[in-house]
């Protein structure tokens, strides 16, 4: 493995470690401090990880936006688990958070049409009774055309 690949792996692992532990991804500055790397090297790793679709970056700052299933910014998919608040990128990702954390969770969502509150509960790996339907607007081959929209 090249040193670049090893560095990218270290960045990815710590992005997930921190996100799962705290609810938000680390910044470039925090990654650089923890990994004892120049910020420019961390930024290069993030760009490579984004090119490989392992992460999604914010368009201007190039900080992490999505470390799937987690969102770095508040969304309408709030997930309460392990006494922390996480945000999913969509309802699929919101359900992915308790899957990744292997934790019980409460998802405070809402109807995409009318905004009516919709709550989902995961307990011991089982989804509690809930009405509703999940809509996938784009076919699978187009999910990455615009992952932020999707």
């Amino acid at each position: 493995m090249s040193s670049g690949e090893e560095q990218d792996r270290g960045v990815r692992v710590w992005v997930y470690d921190r996100t799962m532990a705290t609810g938000r991804p680390p910044t470039v500055h925090e990654l650089a401090q923890h990994l004892d790397l120049p910020a420019a090297a961390v930024a290069d790793s993030l760009e490579r990880l984004a090119s490989g679709r392992a992460l999604v970056l914010q368009r201007e700052s190039r900080e992490v936006l999505m470390a799937g299933p987690f969102s770095a910014v508040p969304t309408p998919f709030a997930v309460h688990a392990n006494d922390r608040l996480y945000y999913g990128n969509c309802i699929w990702d919101a359900l992915g958070i308790p899957a990744m954390l292997r934790a019980d969770a409460r998802i405070d969502g809402s109807c995409g049409c009318c905004g009516e509150s919709m709550r989902l509960a995961l307990t011991a790996g089982e989804l509690g009774a809930v009405d509703g339907v999940v809509h996938f607007a784009l076919p699978a081959r187009r999910w990455w055309d615009d992952i932020v929209y999707n």
């Binding site: 792996r9 309802i91 995961l122």
Partner: protein
């Protein structure tokens, strides 16, 4: 991917955003998909993205087959 109260609310949303209707899953089906997709620990240094073949296999194992779920 959005959650809706009912099929009727999906129709209203598609109409107001002028987008074609896609595919629907129940919350329980979506949980199964989320669990299969996201349960591998991404803190594991050996983690890697699934290949297209592996992803199609995962979707098919959940009954998600047909043109909408094809990746190519």
């Amino acid at each position: 991917m959005l959650l809706f109260r009912s099929e009727e609310h999906i129709d209203r949303w598609c109409k107001s955003w002028n987008v074609p209707r896609g595919a629907t899953l129940s919350p329980r089906q979506t949980w199964k998909l989320a669990y299969a997709w996201y349960s591998p620990d991404r803190r594991d240094p050996q983690w890697r993205r699934r290949t297209v073949d592996e992803t199609e296999e995962l979707l098919a194992s959940l009954g998600l087959t047909g043109p909408f779920w094809n990746l190519r």
